[in-house]
Symmetry: C2
Subunit: 266 residues, 2 copies
């Protein structure tokens, strides 16, 4: 099994579901495709985005692919009620499909974990029909900040950036989508940032994003960060307390996702 | 004269004009008020925002105030063609106006320079009519990041954050607008982030924002940062090179402004 930085635990599964709920508009807002379209969702994992993608496109034919058989089993169980999704095990660098098999490719929170994102985008471009489109949604952990500002919190967040980088990934990838799409042969990509800004007037985002998505994700890297000696225990825990403080009255939270869309031109 | 962190040079005047041009939509997008409205613009400086505010509200009666007589002279020269603006020297902590004198107060890039932003907002609330509204636009230098990511660049930007903080200001104020407005007695403020994202597809923003606004601003703090020993010369200059690199092909730039609006309720 590949070394997925967030792990494969049940808590991680719950975290991904909370994230999917809070961010559904940002991720899926424009991912509505023509009836009859064939859509590939590479790196579907346990199916957090699959459910929404399938619900929003009931007349599309969706193929969700992942390299992990274990994740695919969970995704299948979750999507058992959906008739328009097929699951397929496969490598994003060499998708098991003919050239030009899909009208759309929907890639969400996948490139950040890859050693060679351009190679993956090139492979996805191969299976995309000419005239078809690709959507890529990625976060950027360097876009996080909060009030009150806290140096230990920024260091704790940086532990995830560093550990993901040491595992060959790139959690600062959101800002880089435009040049990556260019390098993969997409000539006129459009990249749009979507900032999640949370203050007291948005209690559902305080819970759904600040606490259950972002803070949970940073808490999840504790063991690995200490093991890798990226930070000392006291500073890390102080950083986590700073995250919780930013979810209390008068606190604010900011994080930016990037959505890139590109066409496969003639 | 107060210790304005960006200085009072002609280059600074040009930088502010470039900034005003590139960011006009973000700053003034919703600042269109009823004909006949009396609008106060405190901290108008040399009038960078005054011109647009007056042009967008030709039938409003605008009073632009600043503590610096020298800045006001420049603003007056710039606004000589405008019939709907009056300039007044005055202290934002004690504006020289009766209670409830204005339907709107428009505050742009001012609070970040103040030691007591809540006290200023309370004073502005006093001169605002019940039912009237306040608009506050501020940046947040901690929201900056770019591709390629560069540690020296982040350190150079942090020099401006630190030197502004040492002068009693707060360049991380954007993320804090919501609680500040709350503390000043505005009960239901609405704060919206506006991200400026720049890539190769936006050459006018590469010039108007990335180079002529943001990079120029960071370059402007060089002397003070070295004098205060916040950074060594080689690292600072490396950081500036990193900023320019992010304006070249394949580079990207991100910065977020925050607009807060609030009503004075009964």
């Amino acid at each position: 099994m590949p070394d997925y930085v967030h792990g494969y635990s049940n808590r991680e599964s719950t975290r991904l579901q909370d994230q999917a709920d809070a961010l559904v508009d940002i991720i899926h807002g424009e991912a509505i495709f023509q009836p009859g379209s064939r859509i590939l969702e590479p790196g579907c994992g346990t199916g957090s985005q699959t459910i929404t993608l399938a619900a929003n496109n009931p007349e599309a034919v969706i193929t969700s692919m992942d390299v992990s058989a274990e994740s695919l089993e969970k995704a299948k169980a979750r999507a058992a009620h959906l008739s328009n999704v097929t699951f397929k095990q496969g490598d994003i660098y060499d998708p098991p499909f003919e050239n030009e098999s899909f009208e759309h490719v929907f890639v969400c929170f996948v490139l950040e974990h890859l050693k060679e994102p351009v190679k993956a985008l090139e492979a996805l471009r191969r299976v995309l029909k000419t005239g078809g489109s690709l959507t890529v949604v990625e976060g950027d952990h360097g876009s996080f900040y909060c009030h009150p500002h806290n140096a230990a919190t920024m260091q704790a967040v940086d532990c995830l950036v560093k550990s993901q980088s040491m595992a060959g990934g790139n959690s600062l990838i959101g800002r880089e989508l435009y040049p990556l799409l260019n390098k993969a042969g997409f000539n006129t990509p459009v990249v749009v940032p979507h900032i999640v800004y949370v203050d007291d007037s948005k209690p559902e985002l305080v819970e759904g994003f600040s606490k259950n998505t972002f803070t949970a994700m940073i808490e999840g890297v504790r063991e690995k960060a200490l093991e890798l000696k990226l930070i000392d225990e006291a500073t890390f825990d102080d950083g986590i307390r700073g995250l919780y403080r930013a979810t209390e009255e008068g606190g604010t939270f900011c994080y930016t996702f990037f959505r890139g869309t590109a066409q496969k031109e003639d």
